[in-house]
Amino acid sequence: MISLTSPIETRAHAWPAGVKLLGLCLATMVLFSQNGIVFHACAFLCIAATYASAGLVFLRYGAARLWGLWPFVVMVLIWHAVTQDFVAGLVISIRLLSAVALANLVTLTTKLSAMIDVVRFLATPLRRIGLKTQQLELGIALVVRFTPVLAHKGSQLSDAWRARSPKRAKWNIVVPLAVLAIDDAEYLAEALKARGGVD
């Protein structure tokens, strides 16, 4: 499974994930506490400059990941054009783009293993009160392993449907796909138990 971490090595790849996440929380809080157009324009330019400092390819990739936000931006701009308050609309749109770009920046520069270490660290209080968090870690591994398996089975089911029908499969394959998921889960549970169980 491919994670969203950027293959382009940046300086931020070496920074501790916890620090980056804490910084992201603080920066997002600051973004949502300010309402000035000048502040948000400057903030957005700073973020764009940060992306650009890792190279043009990185900047372009970052911009591409923001593209999905266009419906919100268009909607907000039209809304505020109608209500004669265009600057406010601009502020909201830029703030949205900045907040998402910043969060993406952390994802792009942090390895999956480092993120999972953070999840493990955040679960520390649960361990203190006696819960076993190995199950959380095993659960993460199982989802990573079985998402491609189920996706493959799903595409086989829709191929099988297409071989027999001129129409495309829509909801029809959900039942067999869910049955396959349940069966896999039952086999896995037996296999885990046979190998000593999880607790």
Binding site: V106, G139, L142, K170, W171, A178, A181, D183, L192
Partner: protein
């Protein structure tokens, strides 16, 4: 114990796999993905606690940077976007859906699951989604509600499908439908 863990993990994987089914467009051009159907099924099949945990596990994987949301989206950016509230609503929605199926034993499972999916998968999830959108886009709750009404018909269809699918699963694998076990 092992069964709980593997069912939770496989249903989290099922939410991801349903995101890969090609988008399906409603009559008036609103695209919908099957992922919220997966969230509803987590509740109707696994029950409240396990269903909520499955949706939560899925979100943890999205947050650590796996592109599991429909269209290959993922990472922390989706949690600061205008639609982030909907994601935060998923575990709670799955929990409420499961709770309804667990508590209401009368009537057919298909109907009960369909109603449960409307309660948890639509009302609860939209509640979170509307609050999130109102906050990020700086709108009032009423304005934010107006902005998302276009998606409700698609989700109603999904709630009906969730009811039918749950009844079919109960026929195929009665012991694995833990909300009724």
């Amino acid at each position: 114990m092992e069964r709980n863990l593997t069912l939770i993990a496989l249903f989290a994987a099922l939410i991801a796999a349903l995101g890969l089914i090609p988008k399906f467009t409603l009559g008036f051009g609103v695209p919908i993905t099957a992922q919220t159907l997966g969230v509803m099924l987590c509740g109707t099949v696994l029950g409240a606690r396990r269903g909520g945990l499955a949706a939560l596990l899925f979100l943890v994987l999205v947050a650590v940077g796996l592109p599991l949301l429909a269209g290959g989206r993922g990472g922390l950016g989706v949690f600061t976007s205008a639609s982030a509230g909907f994601l935060f609503g998923w575990p709670v929605g799955a929990f409420v859906t499961g709770l309804f199926v667990e508590k209401v034993r009368a009537g057919s499972l298909a109907v009960t699951s369909g109603i449960a999916s409307i309660l948890g998968g639509i009302i609860v999830v939209y509640g979170f989604g509307i609050v999130g959108m109102a906050f990020v886009l700086d709108k009032t709750l009423v304005e934010a509600t107006l902005l998302v009404t276009a998606f409700i018909p698609g989700d109603l269809i999904k709630a009906i499908v969730a009811g039918v699918v749950t009844a079919a699963l109960f026929k195929a694998r009665p012991n694995s439908v833990l909300s009724r076990a």
